[in-house]
Amino acid sequence: MMQMQTTMTEGADVTAAVGSRTSASSTANDAIMRARQVSVFYGAKQALFDVNLDMPGKAVTALIGPSGCGKSTFLRCLNRMNDTIEGARVTGQITIESDDIYAPHVDPVQLRARVGMVFQKPNPFPKSIFENVAYGPRIHGLARTKSELEEIVVTSLQKAGLFNEVKDRLHDAGTGLSGGQQQRLCIARAIAVSPEVILMDEPCSALDPIATAKIEELMDELRQNYCIVIVTHSMQQAARVSQRTAFFHLGILVEEGETSQIFTNPKDNRTQDYITGRFG
């Protein structure tokens, strides 16, 4: 018999209790990022309602839900990408390692180095592979010498599992790579500025299954060192790669918990209906 959690998940205190009974790597107690009462408004329209969510380190947290449910909005709050959208307003508190990221003294530019982001469509700069990865360290002044920079680039590419494929053509255009390689290049680019958290916004939706599998394998490896938050439309993917899953619906965080629990025994009927394909 599987060990199942029967605790009801309502509020953050309970989720901590849920986590405590499973493997230590994915408990909510050692959360890197915490969101408390986060609401987002686009002009007069409210897109997110009082979201409380803990994102543990050394784990992948998957955000699932139908289109327009607010999961991408929430993801973009985590590195303040919403700042670039006109009329967007965020209330509540988001902390990274207990620093409030919306505090007035926090520079969003620096924050985005700590909280890297990988986008839906692979978007390498139309420059060489080397320059793509070197750009971040360069603007943040992470390397003092040319050899240091080269080292950062090589290790980032190695961590992204791309180095062996591109080591002979580091100075070729990054846009000449295949879709999956481009996405891994984007991941290497994010890693290069040594973030603590990596956000991924549907990173595999433009990729074929093999490239997707490679990215998923990479996520599993990266999980050892980073807190990863991924938005995905594929429930199978969320089930495969994540340790924790949060289900959003109509701007509300409906349910959040261990991935295996969410996908075998969701507590909320809306979650159940969504993941079994009964919505609407």
Binding site: M1, T6, Q236, N265, N269, D273, I275, T276, G277, R278
Partner: protein
């Protein structure tokens, strides 16, 4: 609960359910016939019960194939996933029940010609009917997804265990009283054991139903009544040796 957006998926799940219902009906029938054959010492009914098992085996294979196909093609989640896992488990339990019923029928065939100790036969019939009722109830609970009803079945298994315990002692006593009884009593003992096993399978099904409905196993321990594994009956004084009987 609303229906699936994909209608074919819904149909497949329903088909799976109806196979299980059919299997349950066949298993009930087989068990009923086995008990009847034992009771009436009717070889024809016994042979009928043996034949029933073939249909149950075929159905189990069918359920298994359908369930695997659904898992492969639909990647079911949550309730759907539990439903399919439940179907596989229930089918396997029912198949076992079918096998055990067949075994009972075979023993009924073997002892048909022998004289039956009336007292013992009554006990066996009684435990058999109890098991049949348990099976009926658990199948009803399954078809109505009623965890409470299943829970009742689960709790009542202790009664069957107790009945089996007393039957065990009784049969031992008979065997000790008269070694000529050993043949028939051994058959009856195995028959009773099989019925008790059927009761256990019914409890398994009840547990599966609980998992299906609540997504978790029953947390408390089941009250167990079968103590025959460590029962030793005191050897009675051999009256018959003294010719007193």
């Amino acid at each position: 609960m609303s229906e699936h957006i994909v209608k074919a998926f819904e149909d497949e799940l329903k088909a799976l359910d109806s196979q299980i219902a059919k299997m349950g009906g066949l298993a009930e029938e087989a068990l009923g016939r086995a008990i009847l054959a034992l009771d009436r010492r009717d070889p024809e009914i016994a042979e009928q019960a043996i034949r029933d098992d073939k249909a149950i085996d075929d159905l189990e294979r069918l359920v298994e194939e359908q369930a695997i196909s659904i898992i492969a093609r639909r990647q079911p989640m949550a309730l759907d996933l539990r439903q399919i896992v439940t179907a596989i488990r229930v089918a396997s339990d029912l198949e076992r029940i079918g096998d055990l019923s067949k075994n009972i029928a075979k023993r009924a065939l073997a002892v048909a010609a022998e004289p039956h100790p009336k007292q013992v036969m009554l006990g066996i019939k009684h435990i058999g009917l109890s098991a049949l009722e348990q099976l009926k109830n658990v199948l009803n609970a399954y078809s109505s997804r009623d965890a409470d009803k299943a829970m009742k079945v689960w709790l009542r298994d202790e009664r069957i265990d107790n009945m089996y315990n007393s039957l065990f002692r009784e049969l031992l006593t008979y065997m000790m009283e008269d070694p000529r009884n050993i043949g028939i009593c051994t058959h009856l003992l195995f028959g009773a054991k099989n019925i008790e096993r059927i009761g256990d399978h019914a409890t398994n099904i009840a547990e599966t139903i609980h998992y299906l409905v609540h997504g978790a196993a029953i947390s408390e321990d089941r009250p167990k009544g079968d103590v025959t594994s460590y029962t030793i009956v005191e050897f009675p004084e051999l009256h018959w040796k003294n010719g007193k009987d």
